[in-house]
Assembly symmetry: C2
Homo-oligomer: 181 residues x 2
DNA sequence: GTAAATCTATCTACTGATAGATAGCCATCA
DNA sequence: TGATGGCTATCTATCAGTAGATAGATTTAC
């Protein structure tokens, strides 16, 4: 049995990954659960509280999945493949954009703490893939390569959703794997 | 002297590229111009009309700038460079995300015609860069490479805005140029 | 004087948020 | 045992503010 808090987060994640932060209301979520909007406020007093909980949960889940995939990956290309696979699963299991990709686009219109939490997700992404790149790489190039990988996957998710085509993600991502082989 | 219609589009573009479609209201735009919201409705009866005009104008301007940059570009790397430069200018001249990158993320929450207009922008982007790639490239690989370039630049803009760092865009984009040299 | 543009005033619907009542549960204590 | 009191979670009702949109009067420009 899942708690109401959890069910609110599920509904909010689904809606926000589809339409964005501002297009989701407490009443929407309440209706999804068959409760009243005041009850949603009981669990998350402010909308920002909900957003922060959402990003926290999403981030945890993402890195848990990522480290799961990477556990068996010994070689560098396999780690990059694990990274791409985590993104692909996030997209395909739900047919929705990355939560942080969505909130990152809306970034400037978000409450401060939420914006920072989203930025932290991206920093952690870049750091993870940076660590998987060859340590003997020139420093600037290594940082750039890590940034490029994250940018490509985020852009691929957005494009894929906008064009309504899962193939778009695959096309955009496949070059990342062959490039680092 | 710029027309009111033009000034409304300017204000709307600035706001939508910053906060997204749903976070911009007719009253916001009216205040920016020192007029009343009913007057904005005179020029754009429905919000979707405004969105469509915005994407149309943005798209025209983007491809005009792109073809301008590409005019002198004879070699393939130079065309790719021109493509990246157009994106970079869109970001840096305004410190804002790509209008279609923003709307593409919110895609599922947009009126039908607007969503299609945004998708058309991306299709045209992919087609443009596809034409700049070597014709003797394997078909699937060529399409994939074109998609990857657009995805990377779109992701780079979003990341750059979210992290508040112009360097992020440069890092993500520089690999595209060296890869196709 | 006509046409384009802007205004005032207003509508209904929805927003995030709050106050205060109510119901169920569970531990403590007489 | 069973009544008491507190805690959690939900409810009803409501608030002020804002959303997109419209009708109709008024102003401005040619």
């Amino acid at each position: 049995m899942t708690s109401t808090t959890e069910r609110i987060l599920d509904a909010a994640e689904s809606r926000m990954r589809t339409k964005g932060y501002h297009a989701v209301s407490f009443r929407d979520l309440a209706e999804d659960l068959g409760i009243k909007s005041a009850s949603v406020h009981y669990h998350f007093p402010q909308k920002e509280d909900l957003g922060l909980a959402l990003v926290g949960r999403y981030s945890e889940r993402f890195f848990a999945a990522l480290n799961g995939h990477a556990a068996k990956a010994k070689s560098r290309p396999e780690k990059i493949k694990a990274f791409c696979k985590t993104y692909e699963e996030a997209l395909k299991s739900s047919d929705k954009n990355c939560l942080c990709g969505m909130l990152g686009a809306e970034s400037r219109g978000l409450p401060d703490q939420l914006r920072q939490a989203v930025a932290a997700f991206f920093d952690a992404n870049i750091k993870w893939i940076w660590q998987a790149l060859p340590p003997d790489m020139e420093a600037g190039q290594r940082k750039a390569a890590a940034t490029q990988i994250v940018a490509t996957l985020q852009g691929a998710m957005m494009l894929s959703i906008s064009l309504g085509s899962p193939k778009t993600f695959e096309n955009a991502a496949k070059g990342l794997i062959t490039a680092h082989t």
